[in-house]
């Protein structure tokens, strides 16, 4: 019985400790991100990943001792927001690889418009039968 108690206790303890360790961010990590942000020019686009798992692309607006102010790149503009260095899991300078976002969007829109008019042609052909 005591063995069972110990097994249960160890399992639950692991469950408690594991995510906390996984989330733990040392002060040196925060210092690293602070140093990184202070060395990139304002206006740089970054790929941001937070400890919460959220990922987004943003433009650096200003760096403060505790936070970096970023402007997320979205369709409908959102306000500039602070991100604490403690909450950052990773930061990467966004590199334009291959096709730009604008081109990709243009292709997407063209495909959509083409699809729409293609559908209309099909409809008119069927109505004409």
């Amino acid at each position: 019985m005591r063995t069972n108690q110990r097994v249960v206790a160890v399992i639950v303890l692991c469950a408690v400790i594991a995510p906390v360790n996984g989330m733990a961010q040392t002060g040196s990590d925060a210092d690293t991100w602070r140093s990184f942000v202070q060395n990139v020019p304002v206006g740089t686009e970054l790929d941001v990943r937070l400890r919460s798992g959220q990922r987004f692309r943003a433009t650096v607006v200003r760096a403060t001792p505790d936070t970096v102010m970023v402007l997320p790149k979205t369709r409908v503009p959102v306000p500039v927001q602070p991100v604490a260095y403690d909450d950052i899991a990773s930061l990467e300078r966004h590199e334009q690889r291959g096709m730009s976002g604008g081109k990709a969007a243009a292709i997407g829109v063209a495909s959509g418009v083409g699809g729409f008019f293609g559908a209309m042609l099909i409809v008119f052909a069927l109505i004409g039968d």
Binding site: V12, V16, M23, T74, R75, G108, V109
Partner: protein, 224 residues
Amino acid sequence: MSRLLRVTVGLLVALSLSQAVAAQTQKVSLAPSDDTRWDASGSAGWFARSRASSEPFRSDSWSNAGSFAASLGYRWRSHLKFEAEVATSSTASFYTFETLTTPGRPPTFRSSEHGVKATTATGRVVYQFLDNRWVHPFLTAGVEVARDRDRIETLIPPVAPATPFSPPLMEVETRTTSSARPVFGGGFKFYVAERAFIRTDTRFSFDRDGLANSSWIAGIGFDF
């Protein structure tokens, strides 16, 4: 046993607290302050209806028609939306053939021309991926209530003995059937402006015989 229970409860409380702390880690809001909850769209496309297994032999397994739809959506969670849609199709034509047997006489054939027009009302839940982007994939699941109006023109062969001058008789009948069935689909919204989009999606509805209808539509809409 009570000690084990206390330890377990205590550790579970600690686990809950640690997860609550994790949930409090920062998230950056990608939703605009004046976020819209409604959208409306109009679409047109291709509608295909499968052959019912109970029907007599017919010219096609699928009948094709144009489809026109208007939909209104309400987003009640960041990624979840309820959408209501009303759609109608153009008339899909096909023929059916039946063999008529009369004792003591050779079999004759009766052909009917069908013109089916489908009208549907659909309620569905939409899961939209990504936040505040220019392209949003989405998946849908819901229920479609369909009303099919079938106008049947049947050529009745002349009753024997026919003379060379006996024209076949034509009988016209309209049958209306209603049914409710599950519908699933998915597609993309391509935003062309902050709140205006082009959508393309495919839908499949099912009945007890399997796939009942499929449609591919494209349209334009806006958020408000």
